[in-house]
Symmetry: C3
């Protein structure tokens, strides 16, 4: 048995929208603590760790822990139909093996999403010793990535004790976005470092901006970047592998 009710439709919509562009199917674990989705993209470049604590929900009832195999594209299509003032009810129908998703407002709209078999080992989120960390407004990052995109399909994040740089180089010109310590919410740097990442992945990740007022970016030298979108009782973390610089 699992049933949960949520007033803030946006939290679930934006998170699944960001995740479903990278990951097609996932096993979502539901237990008394809440909902958790850990998955890698098919190319094994990005890892997603999404957590909604039970107290995000107005109502949250689950007996035994259960893993729901979900087609995230289908789930995204359904959640896109939710209006901003709709209440969302999630309810597992074990008999028919579907997840019922209801939007309650002046009408009641019920979508039943068939559960799928998800094969896959348990995913352990690797931990890194990040020498640098910056917390900034999501819009600064998303604008910087869009700037970089006009000359390249990959981008360098470079950080020193004063500034975060978003850098792209291409045949048609170079782009350098500088976000100074003063513009950041927090900036902690043990040593200057930089790594290169795929813009395609970053653009999907940044779609989660709606759910949080700030992003925490953890950086190192040629290691994955970790991006945390933190809201009250919700967390969406991405770990994205670096690209090896060919020059």
């Amino acid at each position: 048995m699992f049933k949960a009710e949520l007033t803030d439709a946006k939290l679930l919509k934006s998170s699944i929208d960001a995740i479903s562009n990278m990951i097609d199917e996932a096993g979502v674990t539901v237990n008394k603590e809440g909902i958790r989705l850990k998955a890698m993209d098919p190319a094994h470049v990005a890892l997603v760790d999404f957590e909604l604590k039970n107290d995000v929900f107005d109502e949250f009832n689950v007996d035994d822990p259960v893993v729901l195999g979900l087609d995230l594209d289908r789930l995204d299509t359904i959640l896109k139909r939710a209006g901003t003032s709709d209440r969302i009810v999630l309810e597992l129908d074990e008999e028919d093996n579907v997840l019922n998703i209801k939007f309650k407002n002046s009408s009641t709209r019920r979508f039943s999403l068939p559960l799928i078999e998800v094969v896959g080992e348990e995913i352990n989120v690797p931990s890194f010793d990040f020498p640098a960390r910056v917390e900034i407004s999501p819009s600064l990052v998303s604008e910087g990535i869009k700037d970089a995109e006009i000359v390249s399909d990959h981008v360098i994040f470079k950080i020193d004790e004063n500034d975060l740089y978003i850098i792209a180089k291409g045949d048609l010109g170079n782009v350098e976005v500088r976000i100074s310590r003063d513009e950041a919410i927090a900036l902690e740097v043990k040593n200057t470092c930089q790594s290169m990442y795929s813009i395609e992945y970053l653009k999907d990740m940044i779609k989660a901006s709606d759910i949080a007022n700030s992003i925490k970016i953890h950086l190192g030298e040629n290691i994955p970047v970790k991006m945390d979108f933190l809201g009250p009782s919700a967390r969406l973390s991405f770990l994205l592998a670096p690209r090896v610089e060919s020059e």
Copy 2:
């Protein structure tokens, strides 16, 4: 001789927009009572009956009744150019065999639409003894149809004495939208009934929502649905044939 002037551009724009997606050409009858367009779509699945009474117009002059053969796509393209505060003047030019359509505002813009020959028998709108009728807000229907569309290209309207249901079933999941008696403006049901319809047609029909505050839907068991968009002195009715359920 025919000349008419209209302040409310939206009424004509929205009606022709909805109709022209289904019907390419039609003979529009103009007489002292007003304007009337009755036509079937080429596949003979939907029938349109559109009526603008003379008192919708600020000025309405016609001598002998006349049938204007109109290319509705062209008419729609022209009406889309009307601004919200434009006055629309329709004037038949018998010499050049065109309908002149003027938009008056700070400039005067005149479009001349060549009349076409329309072959076609007189259309008699068949009448049905509908056992159920519901009057609701257009947005409830249009949202329900968009919901249904994510899993199927056809939809079941089902009605009982308490609720209208919009139901769709597909390989990728099911959708059920329930609009209760409390949410409806009126709901009269002699006996429970249901029929299935093409979403493609319903989506075109629902474009007429702008012209009316409510839709009257007339339903029966495996018979056509009749949808009336009623405004003061304007009426746009659609009759849509059911699809035969293959299951």
Copy 3:
């Protein structure tokens, strides 16, 4: 050495957007008076003359006059990234042979645009003795052109002492937009005249509407049309060759 700073991003964005649709590459002359771009489109149908006087800029420093060879499409792509409240800084980097374009706001975003070799003779803007001139709101012209476009790909500008007409004729109907002397800011006509022009070019030109409150249109009988978009300390002029009427 050249460095200039501008608060009004829109002026530069809209001008380059209009120009870059017609002209791919151009040599832009920078001297103490300001910035000037004169160029013909590859088909030699339209001539652009764009001038930003030095006092448009908050800061404007240049030593010796210099001609910057610019890929206007790339420049347009970069300028599209400017936010409405960004300050724009243009700076020539002679060593790297690039034009640096900075957008300053909460972050500092620097785009470096490689300079290109521009071959091309000095362009002399031919002068015509226009027998008619009208000054009107840009929106009246742009709406008239969009109206004309639904029946044709070329348009006739016709002017007499009372009215400017925008006329298009096609198999699918005719369009005639009349803008009377009362709706114009100014209208001076020595003798009635008309010429035909390509809508494709006019649509690009009219994109410059943002930079000016009015357009001055200079007309004659089967000669080019001159359109001036005039703002304080900025001027964007187009000269467009007529199409020969085939009828």
